[in-house]
C-alpha cells in the first residue's frame, strides 16, 4: 500500500507497458508483429484481442469495487452491463442522442438498479451466497423482461445501424479509435480504484469484507458503504455496456444478460486478485488472450454433430470412431476456451485463492 516507499522496477515496467500499448496500433500490421502471432491472426485481430483485454479489464475492475474490495459477491453484473447497453442504444436508435450522452444515462440507470438491488438485499441482511443468488435472480428477471418487451426489440435485440464514422456518433470504421477508447476506460478504472483503495472508502470497504462486526464497532455504517460500493460498481459496469453496443453494433439479451457473462467478469478479477488494484487487469491480461488464442488455434469448433446419426451409420465402428476424432480435432463442439477458464478458476480457488497479484507480491515484492 505504501507506494511511495516502493522501489523503481515496477514503475519502469508500467511505463514501458503503457508506451507499448499506446503505440501498438502503429505497428500492429507490421510483419514483425504478425510473425509473432499464432496462425490465423493478423494485425486487426491483434487489435481486437488487445481491445477485449482492456474491455474486460475495465469490467472486472468495476466489479472489483463491490466484489473484491467490499467482498459482496455479485453474479449478476451482466444486468448492469445490459442496462447500460440498452439505455444508450435505445436513446441513439430512437432519438439520435449521442452514445456518449447515452453512456452517462446508461451509467445512471445501471447505478440506480444497483442501488435498488443493494437497498433490498442489505436492508434484509443478505450476505454471501444469498446475496449472490439474489443478484442472479435480478439479472434473470431483467433478461426475461427485456426479452418480452417490444420496445427493447424483444429476443432479437437491437441492431445499431451504421450511421457514420465520427467521435460524436461513437461509431468508427476502423478499429483504432475503439482500441484507444477501451484503453482509456481501463486506465480510468485503474485510477478510480487506486484512489478509492487509498481513501477512507477503500479502507472501509475492506473492513466490511474482512469482518462486519469489527467494522461496525469502530463506526463503519455497513449498509451505507455496501450500497456505495454496489452503486458505483454498477454504474461503471453500465458504461462498458455502451462501449460494447457501439463496438459490436448488435445487442441481444440472450448473449448479454446471462450468468455466463457475469462469471467471465468475476473470473478475471478473482484470478488476478480481487481486492487489489491491479488484480483484475492482470487477470484480464492473462485470461483474455488465453481464451482468444484457444479459440483461434482450435478454429473455435462449434460445429454441430448428430451423435445419433453418427452412431447409427452403417459403417464399421473403427471408422465411426475416426470420424469422431476428426470432429474433435477440428474443435469439436467448441467450448475449449471456457473450459480452460473454468480449469484456471478451479486451480486458483484451490491453490491461490487470493489471486495472482498477491502471489506475485510475495515472490517478487522486492521489485515492486
Amino acid at each position: 500500500m505504501d507506494y511511495l516507499k516502493n522501489l523503481r522496477p515496477l514503475h519502469f515496467f508500467y511505463l514501458a507497458a503503457l508506451l507499448v500499448l499506446f503505440t501498438l496500433p502503429l505497428y500492429a500490421e507490421s510483419g514483425f508483429v504478425t510473425g509473432l502471432m499464432p496462425e490465423g491472426m493478423d494485425g486487426s485481430a491483434l487489435l481486437h484481442v488487445m481491445l477485449m483485454i482492456f474491455f474486460f479489464g475495465y469490467l472486472s475492475q468495476s466489479w472489483n469495487i463491490s466484489g473484491g474490495f467490499a467482498g459482496q459477491l455479485s453474479l449478476g453484473h451482466a444486468a448492469f452491463f445490459g442496462l447500460g447497453a440498452y439505455t444508450s442504444s435505445l436513446l441513439y436508435v430512437n432519438f439520435g442522442i449521442s452514445p456518449w450522452v447515452g453512456m452517462l444515462a446508461g451509467m445512471a440507470v445501471a447505478g440506480t438498479f444497483g442501488l435498488l438491488i443493494g437497498l433490498v438485499s442489505f436492508h434484509y441482511g443478505l450476505k454471501g451466497p444469498f446475496f449472490a443468488l439474489v443478484t442472479i435472480a435480478f439479472a434473470e428477471i431483467l433478461r426475461l423482461i427485456i426479452q418480452h418487451l417490444a420496445f427493447t426489440g424483444g429476443p432479437m435485440g437491437i441492431l445499431i445501424p451504421l450511421m457514420g464514422d465520427s467521435w460524436w456518433e461513437f461509431q468508427f470504421l476502423a478499429k483504432e479509435p475503439y482500441y484507444y477508447i477501451a484503453l482509456f476506460m481501463m486506465l480510468i478504472s485503474i485510477a478510480v480504484v487506486w484512489v478509492i483503495a487509498n481513501s477512507r472508502w477503500g479502507f472501509y470497504f475492506r473492513a466490511i469484507r474482512e469482518d462486519e462486526d469489527a467494522a461496525e464497532a469502530i463506526g463503519i455504517d455497513i449498509t451505507r458503504y455496501k450500497l456505495l460500493s454496489v452503486t458505483l460498481s454498477a454504474a461503471m459496469t453500465g458504461a462498458a455496456g455502451t462501449f460494447y453496443a457501439q463496438y459490436t453494433q448488435y445487442i441481444v439479451p440472450d448473449d448479454l444478460i446471462i450468468v455466463a457473462f457475469s462469471i467471465e467478469i468475476v473470473l478475471r478479477a478473482i484470478i488476478g486478485g480481487a481486492g487489489t488494484v491491479m488484480g483484475p487487469i492482470v487477470g484480464s491480461f492473462i485470461m483474455t488472450p488465453l481464451g482468444e488464442a484457444t479459440r483461434i488455434i482450435f478454429e473455435g469448433g462449434g460445429a454441430g454433430i448428430s451423435l445419433v446419426s453418427l452412431l447409427q451409420q452403417e459403417i464399421p465402428a473403427g471408422e465411426k470412431f475416426s470420424q469422431y476424432l476428426d470432429y474433435l480435432a477440428a474443435g469439436g463442439g467448441g467450448g475449449l476456451a471456457i473450459m480452460l477458464y473454468g480449469a484456471v478458476l478451479i486451480v486458483v480457488c484451490i491453490g491461490m485463492p487470493r489471486g495472482v497479484v498477491p502471489w506475485l507480491r510475495r515472490r517478487f515484492g522486492r521489485y515492486a
Binding site: R200, F203, A207, E210, D211, A217, I218, G219, D221
Partner: protein, 246 residues
Amino acid sequence: MSILEAKGVTKIFGGLTAVKEVDFRVEKGEIVGLIGPNGAGKTTFFNMISGFYRPNEGDVLFNGSSIVGLKPSRICKLGMTRTFQIVKPFPELTVLENVMMGSFNHHARSADSRAKAMEVMELLGLAERAGELAGNLPVAGRKRVEVAKALATEPEVMLLDEVMAGLTPAEMHQMIDTVRRIRDTGVTMVIVEHVMPVIMSLCDRIYVLHHGEKIADGTPEEIVSNKSVMEAYLGEDFMIEAEGNA
C-alpha cells in the same frame, strides 16, 4: 449526569433470562469493572450497552440520551467504542492500516487519519510495528492493535472485553499500564475481566454479576469483603466452612 447509564436492563433468549434488571452507572473519567463467574451474563450485558444486542426491557443512556436500538456504528460515532474478547484485527492489513480504520471515524482524509493513527500507536507502543501484518503479531500484540483501533476512534467511553485474556503476567502489567495511560488522556473505561488482581488494581468501582443479576457494586475494598461476592465465586459450602473456622 453520568456519562453512561443502564437502567433495569434485561435480556431474554427464548425462555432463558440472561440478564435481569441490572442498573449500572459510570462517571466521566472512571475505570469501572464488570466481573462475575462464567455464565453470569457479563458478555450479554456488554453487548447490550454497546448496541450489539437489544435489551428486552430497560434503557441504556449515553450522555443522557437513550442509545437503545441504535446501530453499533452510530454509537461509535456518538463516542463509545468497544473491543472484542476474541480479537478481531483485520489480519491481512498492516498494524497501521488497522488503526487507521479507527481513526477514519473522525478524520475523513487519509493523511489526517494516518497522523492520528501514528499518534495512537505511539501511546500504545506499536509505532515500530506499523508496517507488519496484524495477523502475524503474537496475541499480546494483536490485543494492543485491538485497543489501538478502538482508541483511534476518539471515544469518550471505551468498553474493553476481557482484554487480559491470554496474556502472560508480564504482558498483563504492560496492558495495565496502557489502560492507565489511556485513562490519563481523558477516556472513561468499562472493563470486563476475569483476572482479579487486574480488576483490583485498575478499577475505581466494580459491579458484580451472578446468574444475570447484579449482586454487588462498590469500590474494590468493599467488593473484596462482600459476602455474596465470595459466595458467588466460591460456592456456599466453602463459605460455611470458612465461617466455622473464623
